[in-house]
Amino acid sequence: MVIPGVQLFFSYFKDLVGREVTVELKNDLAIRGTLHSVDQYLNIKLENTRVVDQDKYPHMVKPNSFFYFFPPSRLSVRNCFIRGSVVRYVQLPPEGVDVELLHDATRREARGG
């Protein structure tokens, strides 16, 4: 499974190490933590991990037929490893986003492809 532009995202995520991110998985679970590291498969390691309260962010819960939906159990963990292939979104800290740079890079990525 190859995601076009993965190289771009890998580069981008590397710069976010140490920042708070929220990772939304394909099974609708949202996990927040400090980005500890990321690798070329976009596997993500988080520290100070906690589960995002789904009720607070109802817009993030979508019907997902691909993965079996399970009621989120309360989970408080410190260190967490997330497989790259199950990540749906990574929410970034606003101060961590250089929108211009990202737009530029994605445009170039799209052209070059």
């Binding site: 499974m1 190859v2 076009p4 993965v6 190289q7 771009l8 890998f10 580069s11 981008y12 590397k14 710069d15 190490v17 140490g18 998985l25 099974n27 679970l29 996990i31 500890h36 590291s37 990321v38 690798d39 070329q40 498969y41 596997n43 390691k45 991990t49 037929s65 691909f66 993965f67 079996y68 939906f69 399970f70 159990s73 309360r74 989970l75 408080s76 963990v77 410190r78 260190n79 967490c80 490893f81 997330i82 497989r83 790259g84 292939s85 199950v86 740079l101 990202l102 530029d104 890079a105 170039r108 990525e109 070059g112």
Partner: protein, 251 residues
């Protein structure tokens, strides 16, 4: 290809035995942890058992019942973590989520026994419905080692990569600064800090430019595009008139 959690009934050796590993296919045992109970979904813990971690899968075997064992491949483990929150679970444990990619649209979320209603009570469990698994070592000091081993093995089992049309296989050909990591796992580069991105003494391959800069794109030579742009720019520089200017040059 079996994905998700599955039942293990085959064992090697006598007594409690050991899992049968596919040594012919480079499967090797990484860690054995006795005294581990396993908790599947919301079921009660099963104990006593021994955890075997190979470079491809996790296997738990009951110490007392040779017919009882469970296994899951690392490619099916979507996340794993150390859980020490007593409200989440009474004992510190490794928490994992399991994905079963065989479950696609059309499968109802009805109930657990939907496919096994003729089984004796709840003995036969539909393992493919299990999405959470906890491994509780009797010695909580082992948790960090277990977590680290899980990480290592997860990294050894990336999803199969297919080549894009017209592009080289992506996934393990990425090159970035060689001094980023002294780390063990060859070919597996974790970046822990932005400092590690400081540059660029390490790129050996001319073909594969350092890709850590945003916008750099593997096989595409951006330098050419930049040069062309500069050429065009010169023409614009001379054009002070507000009106149209010739594409062929104002001079």
């Amino acid at each position: 290809m079996a994905t998700g959690l599955r039942l293990v009934t085959e064992r090697a050796g006598s007594g409690a035995g050991q899992p049968v590993f596919d040594t012919g296919n480079d499967e090797e045992l990484m860690l054995v942890q006795p005294g581990v109970s396993i908790v599947l979904g919301n079921r009660p813990p099963e104990f006593p058992g021994t955890l075997y971690i190979s470079n491809k899968q996790i296997v738990w075997l009951s110490d007392t019942d040779r017919e009882k064992g469970y296994a899951v491949n690392f490619v099916s483990v979507s996340l794993h973590a150390v859980s020490r929150d007593p409200e989440s679970y009474s004992s510190p444990c490794i928490y994992t989520q399991v994905i079963d990619t065989l479950i696609e649209t059309g499968t109802d979320d009805d109930d657990d026994e939907s496919e096994n209603s003729d089984s004796e009570g709840t003995e036969i469990l539909n393992l493919s419905k299990i999405t959470e698994m906890r491994l509780v070592p009797s010695d909580p000091n082992q948790l960090d080692t277990l977590f680290a081993t899980f990480c290592q093995c997860a990294e050894l089992n990336p999803d199969p990569v297919e080549a894009l049309q017209g592009e080289e296989e992506v996934g393990h050909n990425w090159v970035f600064s060689a001094d980023q990591l002294e780390d063990d796992e060859g070919g597996h580069n974790w970046v822990f800090s932005a400092d590690q991105l400081e540059d660029d003494e390490g790129t050996e391959d001319e073909d594969q430019d350092s890709t850590h800069a945003i916008g750099a794109n593997g096989n595409h030579d951006l330098a050419h595009s930049v040069v062309q742009l500069q050429i065009n720019d010169q023409r614009f520089e001379d054009a002070e008139e507000m009106g149209q200017y010739d594409k062929n040059g104002a001079n």
